[in-house]
């Protein structure tokens, strides 16, 4: 589903990713772990299409198509979803209106008809309940005045509503207490399925206790420096990232 080959990415003149190779098949959950500054967030932004990240070498294929050539909204309509580390606050737009606008924008881009307000409401309510997102939150302006936990729950709610084929979770665990973390992890686990691939990006092993990945990649200095099964997370937890940071890039 996702095939990244020898990816080099610069921000301004500064190279951040330096030859990253990674592939994820449908139904799999992969984790990317790495210390601060290793390029984790850059990878998530490049996949979602944020401006200012220049691909200087290599390629990203998504379902066989060149992902880098697509604007962010086209990627979203084709099933790429990034749960962001810092969801933005947008005053003046209620969360419910935003969800309806986004959902129908994606549907339209795929040539499907709009869902009417009643059906959007039904869908949102059904998904919101499991994530403990209240009606009151849906009426508030998007993310405005939301706590860190509420913002992250809303990100996962969007994932549940949009039903992406490739979900990227960027530091979804940051700023969450253990109860919120479990709630979010349950929400993510409920979305695991044979057609969906997930990429979980995290600094800490903690999240991976709850979202158990099929494969773990360690990112350091812009490259994958180690790979393994879920047990790799425990090893990292015990030994830290220093063993990789010291290796020459």
């Amino acid at each position: 589903m996702l095939e990244i080959k020898n990816l080099h990415v610069s921000v301004g003149d500064k190279p951040i990713l330096k030859g990253l190779t990674l592939s994820i098949a449908p139904g799999q959950v992969h984790a990317i772990m790495g210390p601060n500054g290793s390029g984790k967030s850059t990878l998530s932004y490049v996949l979602a299409g944020r401006a200012g990240y220049d691909i200087t070498e290599g390629s990203i294929l998504y379902s066989g198509e060149d992902l880098a050539a697509m604007p962010p909204e086209v990627r979203a309509a084709k099933g790429v979803f990034l749960a962001m580390q810092y969801p933005v606050e947008i005053p003046g737009v209620t969360t419910m209106t935003f969800l309806k606008t986004a959902l129908n924008s994606q549907r339209r881009a795929r040539g499907e008809s709009d869902l009417d307000a009643v059906n959007v409401l039904k869908l949102v309510r059904a998904r919101a309940k499991a994530l403990n997102v209240s009606e009151e939150m849906l009426k508030r302006a998007l993310n405005v005045g939301f706590s860190g936990g509420e913002k992250k729950r809303l990100e996962i709610l969007q994932m549940a509503i949009f039903e992406p084929k490739l979900a990227i979770l960027d530091e979804t665990d940051s700023g969450l207490d253990i109860d919120a973390l479990k709630l979010v992890a349950d929400g993510v686990n409920a979305l695991r399925g044979p057609e969906r691939a997930m990429l979980v990006i995290t600094h800490y092993q903690r999240l991976l206790d709850y979202i158990v990945p099929d494969r773990i990649h360690v990112l350091a200095k812009g490259r994958i420096v180690a790979e393994g099964g879920k047990e790799l997370a425990l090893e990292l937890e015990a030994k830290g990232y220093d063993q990789f940071a010291r290796e020459p890039a």
């Binding site: 299409g49 401006a51 604007p71 933005v88 947008i90 003046g92 924008s105 881009a109």
Partner: protein, 365 residues
Amino acid sequence: MTALAERRAEARTIFEGHGLPTRRVEEWKYSGLKEALDEAGLGEDTAYVRLLGRLPEGVEYCDLANPKPWAAAHFGTLARNAVSEASLAFAEGGLALRVPAGKAVAEPLLLETGGAGHARLLLVLEDGASLTLFETTDMAGTRNTGFEIVLAADAHLAHVRLARPVEDVQVEEIALSLAARARYDGHFASFGGKLARAELTIALEGEGAQAHLSGVSVLGANAHADVTTHVIHRKGNTRSTQLFKHVAGGKAHAVYQGKVTVAKGADGADSRQTAKALLLSETAEADLKPELEIFADDVKCAHGAAVGDLDADSLFYLRARGIPEAHARAILMYAFLEDALEPIANEDLRGAVRTGVQAALRSLL
């Protein structure tokens, strides 16, 4: 000669003495009136003022050509400048409105000014009276409107002014006087014109009087919109707040000039001023000039101005959720304006202003 005729003759002399203001006049620095008008200037015709719908129960009116004593007592008494003197001199008659003491009028009063020429309005709220006024403009015509508003003690006026987009020069000078504990909530929306200006001179004459202003302008192509305010705190414990937001694209020009004066002895005065502009093109322009003049000791005054572009993080967030770029931009522009629309208390009027703002934003894309 009647007192009214004398006052109008005086106004004519003052206007002719000053002539039309050019950019060299400080208050008109960003909006040269003389430069924007052709040879005919503002002319000497009378524009119209009319009620939309019925007169709400509890509101009295008369024609300024034949004023009742309550109208004659105030007509032509508030702040004077050359342009407001012109409307006084040339407008034949005009509309005077009064809400008697203690009367709370629930239904909004809807007014429209239109046509070419000069128009005059007077509104008097007596002690403890309250009213919601919706003022709008019809499209065409070079127009100069002079509006005097007198708020007696404990009176409360909510004023919503929605200026429709025009190709012409349209200016309005609104002069207010507030007695003790009176309150004025003024909300202004403009979509510009060749030169569209709302000028407010607000005198907080009584202890505890307050004025709260908010406004938006949405401008494209060659539109020009100017909001110029002067709030004078003359007594203690007076309060004023101002929040003005502009969105300008194309070669549009947005202007906010806001002066706050705190007179000697107006201790405990509290004033806040914020003006922000979002520029959507290299050729759009915004001049934001908040200004303070303080002669009292114990006051709280704050002001700020900022000009910027749409937030890149927010734009990316919306697009990453599948919302096409043009639509995402429209959402963010609306979000930028929202806190300046939200203070409109009357839901129907807020809805009418929002509809106008959304239509104007769509035409900017």
